[in-house]
């Protein structure tokens, strides 16, 4: 268990207050000469002991109440509540040829992952002897639900199969572990997004359980006017914005949004603002916001590039030969500030423990707001925290009842 505002734990020192009052009063007890004790009731030892015991319980109850309130204000959360299994799970649709398994593992570089075939209730099936494996296939979401209900949840899940647009239709994921979708190329049908180009034996399409494309690896990809940047992933803390004279206002807007992020989450960004002619090799590796209408030069290799102009012909601005480009997409430039503001908004909803993510990628989705963080274990922390706070309040109420009962004795 960790605390968001751990400094409030110092408030637990208030536990000492009743203790001091007790000790102070104990010392101050004074003897008073009295005429005679004849007319006073005799002290009932049992009753006296009962009262003393009650007093101790009362003291304990009050102390715990103080501790609980301090604990509650400190905002506790459980970090590792779901990572019991400590393993990653590779789910494979039954219609994937078993012979491809090793190849898939190699490509994804996940040799050590647990493999499960998505048959009904995970019943082991010898697929070599089955004529039509599709009859054993079950719905992906049912399988995920079963995993979710299992006490030993995996750290993450990758689902491999032949997916199309219908698989992702209106699904909303509410899992406490991240789920990645790996689509294999399907010769019989057009790819749902028209983005996949088969080459070689295996093409892998990564989708972050979202309707739209977010990332493509090991493929040659030509951005087109249809490609929209709907998810922004910042991977370095150094950001370069390249702009032309006529885009000064937009540049300022982006800069301001980034600054907001920096201030709000205490993540120090280094933001370089350049005109296109000033861009050179020393900015290599930065997250690059390319606002300029000019061609992106070669030195941007290894950079994460966001091309913020979709009015240019495809062939004019991306060097097709470069295999080093990890990611790029185009976006109407005016949408970027909104996108950055969205990042701000989602961050705010997942509370303060996410502020220390300076070494992790920051995600934001432009269209699919609800999915931004719900798929990650981080959102699970927030849920846990909510229920924990509820329990705290219930316990406080219980203490108050106990106090009332003991006081009435």
């Amino acid at each position: 268990m960790k605390f968001v505002n751990a400094i409030w734990l110092w408030a637990m020192l208030t536990l000492l207050i009743p203790l001091f009052i007790h000790l102070f009063n104990r010392g101050k007890r004074k003897a008073l000469p009295f005429g005679s004790l004849l007319w006073l009731p005799k002290q009932n030892k049992k009753l006296s002991q009962q009262i003393q015991l009650n007093q101790k319980w009362l003291w304990l109850s009050r102390s715990l109440l103080f501790a609980l309130v301090a604990c509650l204000i400190a905002n506790p959360f459980f970090e590792e509540t779901i990572s019991v299994n400590n393993k990653h799970l590779l789910l494979i649709q039954p219609n994937v040829q078993p012979s491809l398994l090793e190849q898939i593992k190699d490509t994804l570089d996940i040799q050590q992952w647990d493999v499960q075939w998505m048959t009904y209730n995970f019943t082991p099936v010898d697929f070599k002897n089955i004529e039509n494996p599709l009859t054993h296939q079950t719905k992906v979401n049912d399988v995920l639900k079963l995993i979710e209900e299992d006490k030993q949840k995996p750290l993450s899940v990758k689902i491999v199969g032949y997916f199309n647009a219908f698989d992702f239709g209106e699904k909303k994921s509410t899992h406490s572990f991240p789920v990645d979708w790996v689509s294999l190329p399907n010769d019989n049908q057009q790819d749902a997004f028209g983005l996949l180009q088969t080459e070689g034996s295996l093409q892998v399409l990564y989708l972050k359980e979202q309707k739209h494309l977010t990332q493509i690896e090991k493929s040659k990809f030509l951005p087109s006017k249809d490609t929209h940047l709907d998810t922004l992933i910042l991977q370095s803390k150094t950001i370069t914005i390249v702009y032309d004279e006529e885009q000064t206002e937009l540049q300022k807007s982006i800069w301001a949004s980034l600054k907001s992020l920096e201030t709000y989450y205490d993540i120090p960004f280094k933001i370089n603002v350049l005109k296109s002619k000033e861009y050179n090799e020393k900015f290599k590796g930065n997250d690059l916001f390319w606002l300029s209408t000019k061609l992106i030069p070669e030195p941007m290799a290894m950079s994460k590039v966001y091309v913020l102009n979709n009015n240019l012909p495809n062939e004019t601005f991306v060097p097709i030969s470069s295999k080093q480009i990890e990611w790029n997409a185009s976006l109407e430039p005016q949408k970027l500030p909104n996108l950055l503001n969205n990042m701000l908004f989602y961050k705010a909803t997942v509370a303060a423990q996410l502020t220390k993510l300076d070494n992790r990628p920051i995600h934001a989705s432009f269209f699919n707001k609800q999915h931004s963080y719900e798929n990650t274990s981080k959102s699970y922390h927030v849920k846990q925290q909510t229920s924990w706070m509820l329990y705290c309040w219930l316990v406080i109420m219980l203490f108050l009842l106990i106090e009332r009962y003991l006081n009435s004795q």
Binding site: K30, F34, G35, L38, W39, L40, N44
Partner: protein, 266 residues
């Protein structure tokens, strides 16, 4: 002096006579017989009747006022700097003053009647409280040896272990003495207005008792019960009971007593 001042309020309409006279009330005449004191012959009657008569009268009986305080250690109990014993002494000083003014004789404990008030007051001042009541039993018993009928005024907190006080008071009433019992009560003692952290130390037995909420509540109720029981016991013995609460002036108790006395005599 305090007693003098206290009594000023009770002396409205009171006039001192200039000569000491013995009150004589006419009863009858009888014939003179030889040997009778010649001075007793009523010469006025002889002038009218030419016969010797002797005027007989009944002298008004003097009352011996016995002031007896409780001298047990419990009378050391103090409230607002005044002990129960001192409070009793104050009351007795007032009563002694009144008695002297009426020509009554005043006796404190078993000692001889005092001729002067100053002697009585000095004797009162020298009284101290200690030990148990039973230790003074013989001293108290001597007051029963008095041949004359007394007005016994007893001032105590009435903490008794084996009805020793009641037995002694009963003996007095049996003898025909008129007894008035003043009960000295501390205000805090009655209301049990002590804090929970107090430990009470019995002045007689030296036992201690730690107060708690229950004991305070029960103690307060118990006191009233015991006081009621005391009143009943005294009433059965024909003893008048006067409560003296220490935070109230002595005059209150005096008024109670004198009102009763006025009704009793008339």
């Amino acid at each position: 002096m305090l007693a003098q001042k206290t009594l000023q309020a009770f002396r409205q309409g009171y006039h001192q006579t200039k000569k000491n006279t013995t009150d004589y009330q006419f009863s009858q005449f009888r014939n003179y017989t030889p040997g009778d004191d010649v001075r007793l012959i009523d010469w006025k009657v002889y002038g009218k009747t030419q016969k010797l008569y002797i005027k007989q009268s009944i002298a008004q009986q003097q009352i011996m006022v016995s002031l007896i305080p409780d001298l047990s250690a419990s009378m050391q109990y103090e409230e607002a700097g005044i002990s129960k014993l001192n409070y009793s002494k104050y009351l007795f000083a007032c009563l002694a003053n009144l008695a002297f003014r009426q020509g009554d004789t005043v006796q404190i404990l078993h000692q001889k009647p005092y001729q002067q008030i100053l002697d009585a007051l000095i004797a009162l001042t020298n009284l101290t409280a200690a030990n148990f009541w039973i230790d003074y039993e013989k001293l108290y018993a001597t007051s029963l040896m008095n041949k004359h009928k007394n007005l016994l005024i007893y001032c105590s907190d009435f903490y008794e272990y084996h009805d020793e006080m009641m037995t002694w008071l009963a003996a007095h009433t049996k003898k025909g003495n008129e007894v008035i019992a003043f009960h000295v009560v501390g205000h805090q003692e009655k209301e049990m207005s002590f804090s929970k952290n107090t430990i009470l130390v019995d002045l007689e037995t030296k036992e201690t008792q730690r107060l708690d909420k229950t004991i305070i509540q029960e103690g307060k109720a118990n006191f009233l019960i015991q006081q009621q029981r005391l009143k009943q016991q005294l009433s059965q013995l024909n003893i008048h009971y006067v409560e003296m609460i220490m935070n109230k002036p002595v005059q209150d108790a005096l008024i109670q007593y004198l009102t009763y006395r006025n009704q009793y005599v008339s």
